[in-house]
Symmetry: C2
Subunit: 561 residues, 2 copies
């Protein structure tokens, strides 16, 4: 048997990227990128007339089909590899991105009569207009003592499946009625290849409150939300959930024509994009935490048992790696934090210096911040500019900086913000440990992990752990390709299990970050201070942040932002 390949397609927020990988070595042979022509729709529908309400974030599903066609065709063309040697394909997708479809799985927005109806399009993960529904859902779940709440750190996010479905029911009952199925896009993208719907255990678990043993929430719960929702699972949902790494089906004749792949090629069930990165760094066992660091950070962990760790985003059996409980935690403001600082707090003189030296302003800030030693600035921050996801699960918390003097300089504040996110990560790690889920090693993937050495060193020093960095800059696509190899199975040239596959195909860089002893000790002292402020402001002793928000809301806004 000659060299075999799999393809991972990573559907991101603004583009999709397909990656062709050598199954025997994990080598990334070629990639192809397709930017969505419609991008994120947050002001108008494609007719340029229908205006969207605030907090809407929609996409056009045609973009995904076009992306699939373009990228896979491109991969085969560029590499000249025979379609016979591509043994599997798998899609990972932003999550929860969802779509109402008809009986055949065709998006309602493709129907003429729904073209100008926003609810017929894809609700992207960052569609935030279902907050009312999410708040009500949480209140009702809490009142009813629903056990599932604990598995999600006490709160279901407005970004997830059921608030989004409920919003559609609230705002357009007719469209709700006309919908045959509400589908997670990871599954819908997979269905474009197989012609059949297969719900994956990852996004079902993390975004649609599914539990391997308990299933979905009860009819009584859904009825308590809204009488019309009572049978939402049976009527509008495919209740059968398949573990990730399984085959969802095979490439249909139509999909073969579209992509150039061979009819009958194995298609793995879909997976959420963040979760797909875990096998891409070779993690298939408990004790190793992967941080996927971008505008925000996701923390992925495996555990042997189902522990209720406060403030995590979710625990799902078979959610990340089949056979384990997959834990997810998160920090809601990481890259966004530094972007805010760069946009609004960097003085003219620094911009000028960066221009004169021909370097990026972030490079200049890092250079200056790198010269500071831990503790030298006297500053400490709480990284809550966008609320706190783990471990406090409180969107109403806000940022804090303490320790400024007249000598405080911008690079000191910049470094304090980085340190604050590192303390936030340490808080998550320690909480997992405290609740019986060991964390022994740290891995990092994503743009920040790739580029920001200062930050990664600070994380190593603050957590007092080595940090290994994903070798692939496209870890989710690589992870999908690994799952494709598992779904294809050994017989076809793939693997029979994810452990072997990830071991061979997943990779980290040779260079890794290791804690500096002196820094560790200073950061230990600073972390004690962080923790004290964290608990004082975050656990109800002084709820000033909430009261300030309340005062803010009560103010009549003379000027719109």
């Amino acid at each position: 048997m000659g060299t075999k390949y799999t393809i991972g397609i990573d559907y991101g927020t603004l583009s999709a990227r397909a990656l062709l990988v050598d199954v025997n070595t994990g080598e990334e042979i070629e990639t192809a990128l397709y930017e969505y022509p419609h991008g994120v729709m947050d002001t108008f529908l494609p007719d340029h007339k229908t205006r969207l309400m605030p907090d809407f974030a929609l996409q056009h599903p045609q973009d995904y089909i076009d992306a699939l066609q373009f990228t896979v065709t491109e991969l085969l063309k560029k590499t000249g590899i025979s379609k016979e040697d591509v043994i599997g394909i798998c899609s990972d997708f932003t999550e929860c991105s969802m779509l109402p479809v008809d009986e055949k799985g065709i998006p309602l927005c493709f129907q003429e009569r729904y073209k100008t109806n926003p609810h017929s399009y894809v609700k992207l993960w960052k569609h935030h207009a279902a907050q009312d529904e999410a708040s009500q859902l949480n209140q009702i779940a809490e009142m009813r003592g629903e056990a599932f709440l604990k598995r999600y750190g006490g709160k279901i996010s407005s970004e997830w499946m059921f608030p989004k479905i409920w919003q559609i029911l609230d705002e357009d009952p007719e469209l709700y009625h006309d919908t045959a199925k509400f589908m997670e896009l990871a599954d819908w993208a997979t269905m474009q290849l197989t012609g059949v719907e297969r719900k994956n255990s990852c996004t079902a678990g993390y975004k649609a409150i599914w539990h391997k043993r308990e299933g979905f929430p009860s009819k009584a719960f859904f009825k308590a939300l809204h009488p019309a929702l009572e049978n939402v699972i049976d009527e509008k949902f495919n209740p059968v959930v398949i573990p990730i790494g399984s085959a969802a089906g095979q490439i249909t004749k139509e999909a073969a024509a579209l992509t150039g792949l061979k009819e009958g090629t194995i298609v793995a069930v879909g997976i959420g994009d963040a979760h797909a990165a875990v096998p891409a760094v070779g993690i298939t066992e408990p004790g190793k935490m992967l941080m996927i660091m971008g505008t925000s950070t996701c923390h992925m962990m495996l555990g042997e048992k189902e522990a209720m760790v406060p403030g995590m985003c979710g625990v799902v059996e078979d959610g990340i790696i089949p056979g384990y409980y997959g834990y997810e935690a998160g920090q809601s403001c990481v890259g966004d934090h530094f972007q805010w600082f760069k946009d609004h707090c960097v003085p003219e003189a620094y911009e000028k210096e960066a221009k004169e030296r021909g370097i990026h302003i972030f490079a200049l800030l890092s250079e200056k911040a790198e010269k500071l030693r831990p503790g030298q600035s006297g500053l400490l921050a709480l990284d809550w500019w966008n609320g706190n996801r783990s471990v406090l699960v409180d969107v109403d918390l806000t940022g804090l900086i303490i320790g400024m003097t007249l000598l405080t300089r911008p690079e000191e504040i910049y470094r304090a913000l980085i340190e604050a996110t590192a303390f936030g990560t340490k808080m998550i790690v320690e909480t997992f440990r405290e609740y019986g889920v060991p964390v022994n090693e740290l891995y990092a993937a994503g743009g920040i992990a790739e580029k920001n050495q200062l930050m990664m060193q600070i994380y190593a020093d603050v957590t007092n752990m080595d940090i290994k960095i994903a070798a692939s800059p496209q870890a989710p696509a690589l992870g999908a390709a690994i799952y494709a190899a598992v779904a294809a199975g050994k017989e076809r040239g793939g693997y029979d299990d994810i452990y072997t596959a990830a071991n061979v195909m997943g990779k980290v860089k040779d260079l890794y970050y290791t804690p500096n002893k002196e820094s560790v000790s200073v950061y230990q002292s600073l972390y004690e201070e962080y923790k004290k402020l964290h608990d004082y402001f975050g656990r109800g002793e002084n709820t000033v942040m909430k009261r300030l928000k309340k005062i803010k809301e009560n103010v009549y806004y003379v000027n719109e932002r």
Copy 2:
């Protein structure tokens, strides 16, 4: 009797300004300015060779003599007013600025052998190199239970007289020995006109621990500091203190030749510059607080009795207006705060907009901040960038901002810093009230009061009091001219008491700031939050600011600032 005039000379940090005032109306006829050629010496002596130690801030007394000659001559020349019609003169000076002199009052630095000795020059108010002595002095005073400590909010500042004298003794015992007198510059400047030394009750009280009934600290106390200091008062100090508003003497023949004034013209005793501003706004009775707002703010108040208000800078009988107890409080970071923000936190886009529109960056910030309503930003700050003077008296406290989100904009932070200083003022006002010293009206003088309407309106809204603004941009010089009229007396065309004099000659602008009812109520809520944070971080519940400073000190500084 035709129109009579007095002259007030205000010796500031970088220049001296003389003001000729019509005694009958308070009209400011003419001013003359002289910039000190030596400025503030903080790196080298005038020989450009002798390097100064860190925290030194010296001046050259010849500059004051030259300023006196130039400005008074200039006033008479420019106005053509006869020296016969100038009935009095008075000097106000930065405080405590002090100088070692010989038996005749001649500065030691005028002697050839002391020319290269830093300790022979004027130690300017902001000379901060006597911190060790100040700390020791406070420790010893506390151990001995010295009652005077309470009159100074529990702490004697390193800027004041005795730490500065002690530093000289510590570092140059020979020069200490050769010194006939250590003089406050307000008194020394006066002596240049009269030929005799007269110690004024204002700077003696606020800067040299003098009390009208109890005198100076005891010999035993001084001995406890250092054996050689036991008799410092008798040996190195003129112990006779004269109330402000009294005559110190008359213009000598030499001074007449120097200035063009008539020999025999009445010279009032000197006064500290901040305190001189009080009669200039017409305040001569209790209940009215004057804020002198510059890089920092001084709060001046009169009271009927001697109350021990925690955290004030001092209470001195006859210290501000004879016949009353003069209270002083302070905020150590006001204008400095906004300067810091402007220098280090304003993004390039704002600088560009200001340049394009041809306005100052502060004007742009104010314009943007003015559009915000109280509470709209959700931000709250503690104004401790330079420690806290009143009411906590703690230099080790540092700044704090809370409430930031990813939508927080620079003008919101700028406004929060202004509001923080206003809350600091409210805290001072409420503390005075709580300890039995009523505050019914607010007055403001200084550059900020003059120019920053946004800030003054915020102060009115936060304190819920009208704020009247000094009519004169040179309130200290006007105050000195008023005291000169009192020292001259009614017979010569002046006044017999400060009450009448200040009533006629002191002035506020017609326009004043009055609280906006809606804003008052929002600020009341925000102040409650400020107070809670103030007490939590400032009164020992969480001493994180001090611990961060300690950590900072322990860090080995790779890079000097």
